[in-house]
Amino acid sequence: MNTGTRKDIYITVPMIMDMELAVSKTAEALALMSHFSSDQVDEIRHAVIEACINAMEHSDSPDRKIYLRFSVFDDRMEIRVRDRGHGFDIRCVEKPDLRRKLETGSRKRGWGLMLINNLMDDVKIEKEDPGISVIMTKQITPEHSREGAHDGV
């Protein structure tokens, strides 16, 4: 799948309130430079926000940092969001259902992964040592991709 050029942009941020918003602005800037549509840019922003929130809320990482890598290809962007926490077993993550949550009065949280899966084209979760990486990919839609589209990156 590694077609064409690839450029990697790395950032590391502390797990502090609303830092996910700052990270999403980086994602937005890179997505705009890559000529994603405005709707796709917005979806990427939201997915990155959710991935960062997941890391902040569930990783229990001792260094309280999130490590991101934005990989820009000719036809897609791949975003890796990593923490160095205790990790989790994806098989144990229950798929949330609003109607069931309302009927049972159960906890109304737990939507992050579901949103990421629906907003991005491909999502992988990899165990790290330590921690977890969530790798999200968004394809540039055909009418917006062109050779050298991200010359500015």
Partner: protein, 119 residues
């Protein structure tokens, strides 16, 4: 970062709540607080205009779900208006639109709540 704000406009049978800024847990709580204040006055029909809140995270949405639950419990009515495509998609994914209406603009929502809409 821009401070989160909520603006409320009351009508006879319903109220419009307009939020400004990022809806995270704090923004969600502030919206929830205003909704509860309004419902305490007996108004159980709410329009939530998110034109100035273009980013909503899942924690904020979870709090909106709690509001939906309270409104349903009181046989009320909730509508969203002026959502960006991604926020609308997110709400749809999370199932909120099963329990709340969606209008493109605040004006069309108000018309519907006033009983003037054919939709």
């Amino acid at each position: 970062m821009t401070e989160f704000k909520v603006n409320v406009q009351k009508f006879n049978r319903f109220a419009v709540i307009r939020s400004h800024g990022y809806i995270n847990n704090l923004g969600g709580e502030e919206i929830a607080r205003e909704c509860r204040n309004i419902m305490d006055t007996g108004l159980n029909e709410l329009i939530l205009n998110l034109q100035e809140s273009t980013i909503v995270n899942s924690i904020g949405i979870s709090i909106l779900i709690e509001i939906i639950e309270e409104i349903l419990h009181k046989n009320g009515r909730l509508a969203f208006s002026n959502l960006t495509p991604t926020v609308a998609k997110t709400f749809k994914i999370m199932g909120l639109l099963q329990f709340a209406e969606l209008f493109e603009t605040e004006q069309t929502a108000i018309q519907a709540f006033n009983g003037n809409s054919t939709s």
